[in-house]
């Protein structure tokens, strides 16, 4: 299996793929199964979840009981390797008017990227989400419709395995019958939220997550994914057989050694490698896309991090899938006489319209959940229920002071304890000794959290460029972020906080944080929901967009953007599933163009 070193690279490949996460993984999968020879550059090290995942390790076996530190910002056992909010030697900078608007950028440095630790929440964008401008006159329409993406959502769901139900709710698309895996049963706090949410008119339903609640139907799915292609079917069948169903223990954020959830490293890359058409070069930090004399991309210039030397790989086409902001940085750093302001930037829009998800959280204490008989609520290693946005009609009627919606993620607290005080002083009134231990047992599991994850509207104030002074350790100019929320995001966060207060109180509970729900104080800093997309938006007019409906840059026709960079809007739905669906679609087009000799 070819994880190769730089000097083993072939003279030329069909396609150079930068990045190995959801976008790079899907691109490699689609292209190599179609027979194209690909090389993948990954800035981090090789990573093998089957041997490196701390599946059952307990908090007391980790330093600081696994608590987060600047080295491991999501806790010791989080799968992320080599980075986080900061990557040693690779800074970024920020310009922002208020301290709460400093952009934070999450970057792992490992094969599979963020897919190793992500929340696995896999929601389809709905028809409204691709035509937001047509609905309310804000932001941009995509040059594609839901019908264009729908079949690719279905293919991705069948390939990676997603649990959930079809609820038939507005702008919350159903999947075809038989595609989704069975949803897990509701936990105590989730069922309670469902009951009291109903009284407030908030639907609480099973969420969609990329976790196998049963083994994939490897007898039938491969033929649906790859009709008339026995070789691909054989490879995909074998890869699916390697994946076990969830055994209802261990958090997905650690990764999964039994391959029960989606990681690029366990789902996309094994079949791609099995084709024999993929070489992966780890520790390869992409710097620039190189052009030939006729203005076409001919490969990628990168730093071999083990030697610090600049190296090149060549391909007939290049896919950037490094994560939206890293791909934009590569474009901006690819300067030439024909592109003095960065590659594919004749529109001047490369770097513009960066979006994150709007996140606000409220946490409460619900006495009804105290002293419940002990029972196992590990479940699928993440949330089981959520609320899709439910106020489309009110919004359309102008009853809300923000234009786009949010979904609600929720959870109780009967998860693995350790590393924090389970019985806060104000509840225990300072108990210690046997009484404290009884209090800990009483309050354990009685806390609930609600988190809004909402749509941000692209605006002129939120963008990135290159810092004119700061360079990374290899001398490459770094990303500089600029940010200012609009009233839509701030008012949305306020609405969410008020809603969560109502929900917690309806459950008979009391809000614990933030202190003054409704003021929008829990709004996360930009970047911190780690849904940053945009920066090279898709469109139908080369003057108003960077790439076409097939994510092919207008200026360089053999250069494709397959991560979140082309997003023209950022619906409340978590972007990963859409990134994969669109990468598959773009790569189908690339394959077709290659076959026609158009690259």
């Amino acid at each position: 299996m070819p994880i190769i070193s730089v000097d083993q690279a072939k003279q030329e490949y069909d396609v150079v793929i930068v990045g190995s996460g959801a976008a790079g993984g899907q691109s490699a999968y689609t292209l190599t199964l179609a027979g194209l020879k690909c090389v993948m550059l990954e800035a981090g090290r090789n990573y093998d979840p089957t041997t490196e995942t701390p599946m059952f390790n307990t908090p007391n076996q980790a330093p600081l009981q696994g608590n987060a530190t600047p080295d491991k910002s999501f806790g010791f056992y989080d799968a992320t390797v080599g980075g986080g909010w900061e990557v040693p030697g690779e800074p970024y900078t920020s310009i922002h008017a208020t301290p709460g608007e400093e952009f934070r950028w999450w970057r792992p440095r490992m094969l599979g990227g963020r897919t190793n630790h992500w929340g696995r929440i896999s929601l389809r964008n709905g028809p409204y989400d691709l035509k937001p401008y047509s609905r309310d006159g804000l932001g941009f329409d995509w040059p594609i419709t839901y019908d264009d993406v729908d079949p690719y959502y279905t293919k991705v769901e069948m390939l990676v395995g997603v649990y959930g139900t079809n609820a038939g709710l507005e702008n919350t698309p159903d999947s075809p019958d038989g595609v989704l895996l069975p949803p897990p049963k509701g936990r105590a706090a989730e069922l309670l939220a469902q009951k009291y949410g109903k009284k407030l008119g908030i639907p609480v339903i099973p969420i969609h997550r990329a976790v196998l609640t049963k083994t994939l139907d490897w007898k039938n799915i491969p033929a649906k994914l790859h009709p008339d292609d026995p070789k691909s079917q054989r490879i995909v069948t074998s890869a699916m057989q390697q994946r076990m169903a969830c055994f209802w223990a261990t958090e997905c954020g650690r990764g999964c050694s039994i391959k029960a959830n989606y990681q690029s490293t366990t789902v996309h890359l094994p079949p791609a490698l099995a084709t024999g058409n993929l070489d992966i070069i780890p520790n390869a930090h992409a710097r620039e896309v190189i052009l030939n004399k006729s203005g076409k991309a001919e490969g990628v210039l990168f730093i071999d991090k083990q030697t610090g030397k600049e190296m090149r790989v060549k391909g007939k086409a290049v896919i950037l899938a490094a994560g939206a902001c890293e791909s934009v940085r590569i474009l901006l750093n690819s300067k030439s006489n024909s592109f003095p302001n960065g590659l594919a930037n004749s529109s001047g829009l490369v770097g513009k319209y960066i979006m994150d998800t709007v996140g606000a959280d409220v946490m409460g204490h619900v006495p009804m959940l105290e002293n419940l008989p002990p029972h196992n609520e590990d479940g699928a290693g993440g949330g089981h229920f959520y609320s899709p946005w439910w106020l489309y009609k009110e919004q359309k009627a102008g009853k809300l002071d923000f234009a786009r919606g949010y979904h609600i993620e929720m959870g109780g607290s009967r998860d693995m304890p350790g590393g924090e005080n389970p019985a806060p002083d104000d509840l225990t009134q300072g108990s210690y000794g046997k009484r404290f231990k009884e209090d800990a047992r009483r309050y354990y599991g009685s806390f609930v959290g609600f988190a809004s994850r909402g749509e941000m509207i692209p605006n002129e104030d939120c963008y990135m460029d290159l810092d004119p002074k700061v360079k990374d350790k290899w001398g490459i100019p770094v990303a500089r972020f600029h940010w200012k929320w609009s009233h839509h995001e701030i008012n949305q966060a306020k609405h969410a906080e008020k809603t969560f207060k109502e929900l917690i109180e309806a459950m008979g509970g009391k809000v614990r944080a933030p202190a003054n729900p409704g003021a929008g104080k829990s709004l996360w800093r930009p970047g911190m929901i780690i849904h940053e997309v945009g920066g090279a938006i898709i469109g139908s007019d080369p003057k108003k967009s960077v790439c076409s409906a097939h994510q092919q840059t207008w200026d360089v026709k053999n250069l494709f953007l397959c991560d979140g960079a082309p997003f023209a809007s950022n619906a409340d739905k978590n972007p990963t599933l859409t990134i994969m669906a669109l990468a598959w679609r773009a790569c189908d087009y690339l394959v077709d163009q290659a076959r026609k000799g158009n690259l």
Binding site: T53, D71, L372, H384, N421, A423, I530
Partner: protein, 219 residues
């Protein structure tokens, strides 16, 4: 995307990963507006790529700093806060003192902030025991321990002269509990059942649903 919400960790946030973004921010040098580079992190920690599958013990990554006397006081106090009883063993039997030592010895901002609180507090406890009973804190009997602890166990009700000691006690109790319940015997004490592979997930049992007045809505 994950969710820990450690900003309010003291208030026991749910930290179920996978239901939202879970960022934990370091507290060093809140950045001012402008194009400054984000602050660099402490270099003597376990780094950004520690081996995760191997069990680690206090002292593996950085030297421990508590003195023998401080450790002796910490052991006695941890067992006052979390004694052996029908719910489980005493704190010191579960490595709680070593975990607290590791915590206050760590090179990270949050832990470095806790260091003087805990070390000064342990020294105060020892001095207070000598002052009141002319003995080491570790050598006091149960009622003598209580006499001191009752004065400092709840900050809002502590007398002015004990406020600082009460702040220490609160932090110590929090760290001791965080360590105690990080162990499988601690899980048993608190009522956590999990971290074991199951063939199926049944959700809460009938008695839980009944107590809450809810029904299971997923087949």
């Amino acid at each position: 995307m994950q969710w820990v919400m450690a900003a309010v960790a003291a208030s026991s946030l749910p930290k179920r990963k996978g239901f939202g973004a879970a960022p934990v921010e370091k507290k060093v040098g809140e950045q001012e507006a402008g194009g400054k580079q984000p602050p660099r992190l402490a270099s003597e920690g376990y780094g950004v790529d520690p081996k995760l599958t191997t069990p680690h013990a206090p002292g593996d990554f950085w030297p421990l700093i508590l003195t023998d006397t401080q450790k002796r006081t910490a052991k006695a106090l941890a067992d006052v806060v979390l004694p052996k009883d029908d719910l489980g063993p005493a704190a010191s039997e579960l490595g709680v003192v070593e975990m607290i030592d590791e915590w206050v010895s760590a090179p990270y901002p949050q832990q470095m902030g806790d260091r003087p609180v805990i070390t000064n507090g342990l020294d105060w406890m020892e001095a207070e025991a000598h002052k009141r009973f002319n003995k080491s804190f570790a050598d006091l009997d149960e009622s003598q321990h209580q006499t001191i602890c009752d004065d400092i166990c709840y900050t809002p009700k502590a007398k002015r002269e004990f406020k600082k000691a009460a702040e220490f006690f609160s932090r110590f109790r929090s760290l001791a509990a965080g360590a105690y319940y990080a162990t499988p015997p601690g899980w048993k004490a608190i009522g956590y059942i999990g971290n074991i592979p199951l063939g199926r997930f049944d959700g809460p049992p009938p008695e839980v649903l009944k107590q809450l007045g809810v029904e299971q809505t997923v087949d």
